[in-house]
Symmetry: C2
Subunit: 110 residues, 2 copies
DNA sequence: CTCAAATAGATCTATAAAATTCTATTTTAG
DNA sequence: CTAAAATAGAATTTTATAGATCTATTTGAG
């Protein structure tokens, strides 16, 4: 499946369906899942239709023993030795900016 | 990384960090990402600290060209021929319930 | 086939995220 | 080193989700 051809809304729904499939695989009702996660039945229903917070998703995945899926979800970035060399061992913490006026040290003097 | 040993909050933060890494890999500022997604700068900041909605995450992943990761996220459940046989070709759409009183056909009569 | 249970959907209230605007700190180009 | 830009964090208003309750529809165990 190519997610790039789908709208955000469609992707949300698709994820909801897959989470529902995980629940059914364990033969749990929405009610049981709600109780197990201390979330409301409504939250479970919303999640399975794609509308929810990350926190809700995480709690549900934990209960469904599917937390490990998160690993593939957003993988840790691995920096290759070559890249590291290129950066002279410096790991960037911010994106580079556009400097408008490279201010001179003493401009107020002219 | 074993997510099961981590608290929900910690997982949220970890995911936020990874999204930040994805952004830096493309050398984009939070501001640029906000503009590109038509989200607010604050939403980007919140996402990178782990607090956001699924919709926000999807929009950002699309912009960061990381939507394909979702494919592995929660794989579509593939039903094996054997499983299908066991279910007699029936695909379950609901979890099985607990029936309290297997109501007799004519109970009102005694 | 029946009907109890599961699920969908809709409406309120409460709570949290999105958006906007500030202040403060940190990184890094020059 | 310096200052401009990037980022963190906090307060406020708007908007969406969480939670609770109700109605309606659908599934599947018996």
């Amino acid at each position: 499946m190519d997610f790039y051809t789908l709208s955000d809304k469609t992707i949300e729904k698709e994820l909801g369906h897959r989470i529902k499939a995980l629940r059914l695989r364990k033969n749990m009702t929405q009610k049981q899942l709600a109780a197990a996660t201390t979330l409301s039945l409504n939250s479970i229903k919303s999640l399975e239709s794609g509308r929810s917070k990350l926190a809700t998703l995480i709690a549900v995945l934990r209960e469904l023993e599917a937390l490990d899926h998160l690993e593939n979800f957003i993988p840790e970035i691995s920096i290759s030795p070559m890249q590291l060399a290129k950066m002279q061992g410096h790991v960037r913490k911010r994106a580079s900016g556009e400097r408008l006026r490279p201010q001179a040290k003493d401009e107020s003097e002219w």
